[in-house]
Symmetry: D2
Amino acid sequence: MTIQSTPAPDWRVGQWFNTDRPLDLAGLRGRVVMLHAFQMLCPGCVSHGVPQAERVHRQYAQEGVVVLGLHTVFEHHAAMTPLALEAFLHEYRITHPVGVDVTVPGRTVPATMQAYAMRGTPTLILIDRAGHIRFHEFGRPEDLRVGLALGRLLAEPWPATPAVASPGGKDGAAGGCDETGCALPE
Amino acid sequence: MTIQSTPAPDWRVGQWFNTDRPLDLAGLRGRVVMLHAFQMLCPGCVSHGVPQAERVHRQYAQEGVVVLGLHTVFEHHAAMTPLALEAFLHEYRITHPVGVDVTVPGRTVPATMQAYAMRGTPTLILIDRAGHIRFHEFGRPEDLRVGLALGRLLAEPWPATPAVASPGGKDGAAGGCDETGCALPE
Amino acid sequence: MTIQSTPAPDWRVGQWFNTDRPLDLAGLRGRVVMLHAFQMLCPGCVSHGVPQAERVHRQYAQEGVVVLGLHTVFEHHAAMTPLALEAFLHEYRITHPVGVDVTVPGRTVPATMQAYAMRGTPTLILIDRAGHIRFHEFGRPEDLRVGLALGRLLAEPWPATPAVASPGGKDGAAGGCDETGCALPE
Amino acid sequence: MTIQSTPAPDWRVGQWFNTDRPLDLAGLRGRVVMLHAFQMLCPGCVSHGVPQAERVHRQYAQEGVVVLGLHTVFEHHAAMTPLALEAFLHEYRITHPVGVDVTVPGRTVPATMQAYAMRGTPTLILIDRAGHIRFHEFGRPEDLRVGLALGRLLAEPWPATPAVASPGGKDGAAGGCDETGCALPE
């Protein structure tokens, strides 16, 4: 999805794993942030989005990429509790920080998912050093594209104003879970 | 694992999914049974054992193979409840019957897992038309081997006495979860 | 492809690799034969058919399966010479016997390919202990199906009359090379 | 392999495919160049290097990446002739330009392979807009790393002086062909 430079909204997280202190966007200014939204029972997240994020974390954390998982549960809430998530992160050997998106009373979609206008899981968002969204895609962007987008963002001087939008990609499918991921009902 | 012909013990299941009536071994006499034990948060089960079982079910159910999943939870019990399992089966589009192995008060390992002397998950067991265990392996037996073992069992006339043991395989690793699966502590 | 039991024709081979003597069908009576036709520059052969055959050879040769490659060149003859084939077999570490199908003056399709009525490469043929064709498929039959068909044939007593046809599969595509393989022009 | 900024030597090509005119380095100043050296019978090239290069070509040619294949034959010369290469490129649907590295009388290693001090095939080399080598690796660098390196090079303004070396990678193995590729004898 081609993104014009949009300021990234803050995330709202109720509980963190794999970090000893909460992370917020303001504190990450100057870093390239890879935010991936997932659900622990979403097949496309488990086979693609989560391992891709972990790969980036293990290979590029020391070069200035901050990888953040966001557990955006919008179905099967009773099965995907923070306690279940903790077991999932343990069994899958996930080491990057993961936050639980907060639920909003009376709404299916949690707060951060709503604020970022995500259409389902997995969704990958890249935020540049200045705090602007530069890549926003629902589905399974391949490693080559994600790497290339990260390389461009890492190459931007800081402080700087972003000048180039990330390359376009195809949008994901809509409605229910399939091989691509789990989509919100329209 | 080379198996001398051993009578398969009955399974003990507390709850069934994807079947409108309980299945028992006696009622499957004359059929080749593929029993696969898994945990919904075991990475090796999710990526290998469960999809392999579903593949066999979809392709060979009408040729007389009965595929049965057995949810043998021996860790993270609070995360892998029947309610969570139901969400998992729904999201992963699993259509073959799955039973929940019953817990035994005071024990980590559930009843059927114990009765079959399984060492962890995933474990694949093939039972011949006469109700004897002919293949019993912890880990990730590849499709070629599983197919060949199934082909041999399907070729046996019924009623008949089994004469040939299945080919040997390597045993799985021990202790915790790794790429192979989740092992019981020794 | 469902196959009624048909006597397998002899193959006609001009040059052998990976064997110190010519192999003929009569000499293999009592063995299950996996004959796979390939071209060294056919992408579907290199990625699927050839490694599948080598897997079966390494795992099941000692259980009575004889794996035979047949180099059935029907295009780019000048590039796929026996000398080039020898380099290919060396670089890809192929250890099972491979014969070069003989060309017929004035015809594009070599002799054995014609005799077996193959539609392109890769083609997989299974011949039972009695010398009858029991599986004949153009394309990429998956390991599960090939394993199951082999298991059934291995289970047949010898001497014996085959009674059960192999399971049906979908036919391959026609015309040129694609992901499936290389098809003969109709 | 970490590369300090080194001027890329010219390549010496005897025959071109997939381009109607010869390409030279001077003419590509201002472009990011991905030069991948391969042999058509090198398994690691066929399964990894060549399709990776084609992927980059198809996705990023219009963003200024020039992908060039270089056929650097250092063994089985009689099997890997330009005529055989042409058949290979046709069957594998390769659309990016490929040049044949020129042989040097009395030497095993062709001229450009020697000039770039390549250790075997596949070798991937990235050259920045100013004509300097910025990435040089024997083996199978994964898409994430290649994408990230390309993204950094694409982000560099032109004209500009490169300031950042590409991330380090592990060197390939030595001697003969294996899963990684084909190495020159030391």
